[in-house]
Symmetry: C3
Subunit: 293 residues, 3 copies
Amino acid sequence: MLKVISTLNGFIQPLRSLHIVRCSARRYTLCPFYTHDTLQSIRGYNILQLSLQHYPLNILTSQFMESLTDFFNQIQDRSISADALIIKSSIPMIYSAGLDLTELIINNNFDLDKCENYLTTFESFWLSLYCLDIPVLSLIEGDCLAAGCIIALSTDYRIMSDIDSKMGINATKVGITPPFWVCRLLSQAIGVSRADRAIQLGTVFSPKEALNIQLLDQVVSPKDCQAIALSVAEKFLFVDSLARRTIKLRFREELISELKNRLNSDRNELIRIISSDTTQERIRKLLKITKIV
Amino acid sequence: MLKVISTLNGFIQPLRSLHIVRCSARRYTLCPFYTHDTLQSIRGYNILQLSLQHYPLNILTSQFMESLTDFFNQIQDRSISADALIIKSSIPMIYSAGLDLTELIINNNFDLDKCENYLTTFESFWLSLYCLDIPVLSLIEGDCLAAGCIIALSTDYRIMSDIDSKMGINATKVGITPPFWVCRLLSQAIGVSRADRAIQLGTVFSPKEALNIQLLDQVVSPKDCQAIALSVAEKFLFVDSLARRTIKLRFREELISELKNRLNSDRNELIRIISSDTTQERIRKLLKITKIV
Amino acid sequence: MLKVISTLNGFIQPLRSLHIVRCSARRYTLCPFYTHDTLQSIRGYNILQLSLQHYPLNILTSQFMESLTDFFNQIQDRSISADALIIKSSIPMIYSAGLDLTELIINNNFDLDKCENYLTTFESFWLSLYCLDIPVLSLIEGDCLAAGCIIALSTDYRIMSDIDSKMGINATKVGITPPFWVCRLLSQAIGVSRADRAIQLGTVFSPKEALNIQLLDQVVSPKDCQAIALSVAEKFLFVDSLARRTIKLRFREELISELKNRLNSDRNELIRIISSDTTQERIRKLLKITKIV
């Protein structure tokens, strides 16, 4: 329950701490890709809300991810104070459309290096999010595709607004193989066979379908999204913090440790696939359609 | 189908064998924590029913668990004859409320040893139940919480009475981290992501909710519980015994073997968490509320 | 969408390529156990449809499996051209009733060898199916039992006709323990606890029940089966082929690699169980009832 939950307009009062405001201001010039506010709950918890706003589709460019990685690392080392984190988007109808396909166009050896660097940036970004020990929630109010869906899968709780939008890992449609740890993440959420099929087919789901297969935890009406995200964050903070953190880490340690062993070979396989003629053709065609290139 | 299934009153006729009666009598003075009866089915199977009755909440005290471990071991080595086992409670509205929190209060090094001994007793108890090769069913007619839920999760089939009661592993609410094998057990039943969330949040479920997420196999009306438990036990006995035992062991061998490698480090981590100030405070507060201390 | 989807009668036009016809003709004399047709989709994909017809129950005799293994291997090495494979039965009301129990009758050491050879044939058959890198679909229009269900579980997508029929692994009822990789396959589809229970009990499911627990992907009316199977096959072919193949292999590689380590010990355990008096008795009784012996 929030202090001001009864106030209809502006019932969520963003109480920006001095630190946060300073941080936002400093960052805005460097990376105007997101904002963050601290929402204070009745129990006095600081619930940090991160709003992605990298127009037009929250595409995960290198710079965007590096800046987010830095942000997550500061939360983890307590330079930024937060008891819980809610990740949402401030761009209407979009959570994130995923990776930056322009980084995956390969014409020469130089591009191969660029592609490898980009994938490494993505891995670091993902790890910095996945290893956060505070509770992390996704508040999804629009399309949540490919690596956007991976962000959501890496959080502890997924709430989606009941609007006409899609969620899923559609990478194979562009000829891209999601890394093995994405297969694992999705399997843990929706079961192995279903994940196998969904990734092979590049299936995207409506909010209700996603809820049915446990890709989501809740589907709520658009107007209730924010309040529900906060009340769920409070639930996570109601339990003992050390016990909860230990459990969160335990459920992640196996994948993290496997990651260290497989990361290089997995990335090389992915680059090999991305470099293939058919994938390059699919990527270029898609970029043409979306008019990004 | 039972021989006397048509008799409305007392349609289940406990046919105590001489052995069982003697055993019950002998045990009653030593450990009045439970009773057991042999229910004979039409096909001539001996279905042993264990009724926990350690007032008021079937709290798993050291003595209670040691006595149950001894009982399970006797079933396993065939000193006690049973084709299948049903575990229920004879205390109204309660299956078990879990561990004995008084054993987890730590004031000094002596208490640390006491706590470690207690957890070791719990592990032995759990293993003796989990490794039973006969079919084991839970008949849950009331709250089934924390280690009570772990008992249920370790049996082959879970039936719950459709009454106002709760089931779940709420340990984090008291600041306790369930052992890794509990995370595994719950993941196997309800899926990894859902288990992660349920344990992080310490969620408890109504019978219907528990059924929906596959924490339960059946929810039945209170008056049908007993008959259904028996008919399910019969189903387990209808298949070939050697083949069924082999399958049961195979589905458990991986966790049992992992257990041997991780048990000490896992227990040490748990003790570290239990010893923490916040957990000690939560335990004391809860004990005060429940007036046990 | 098929080219001739609007034609009511014979809307699926089997376009047998010369190669296929020659292959079918040559094979018919050797192994009249199945036929195969190439169905051509609008997008020009060759969708191969394999119709099992080993009367009366598509029992997996050695010869039947060897001939299918050969067929699958030719698909895998591209001697037979196919973009996707649909496996169905041309025997009404039956997909497959599973293993050939006569091969499992053991009277002497000679029979032990025969039994071991038979199981090895089954393993090779299964591997040749499981490792196929093209999309493989099951179109189930009747009982799909024991090893018949294993075939279905090894394909990428399972469609069942909504008729009065059963699906499941009922091996324990005959005293047979499914190999560990079958336990794994079923766990991946329906979850570990549910698989444990279903195999222990030898449970068979109606189409709707099988759909509810994710043993099936779709249950459709008998008249729509064929068209839906084709449209799903097209969906698999819509995504990038290399990316899809890589994902398919990745989801299978763990089990395949474990298989190599455990296969011998697992087979020996199975033979020990098959040789047991109770299992031999159950097998003989069943063969008597079904009048096969």
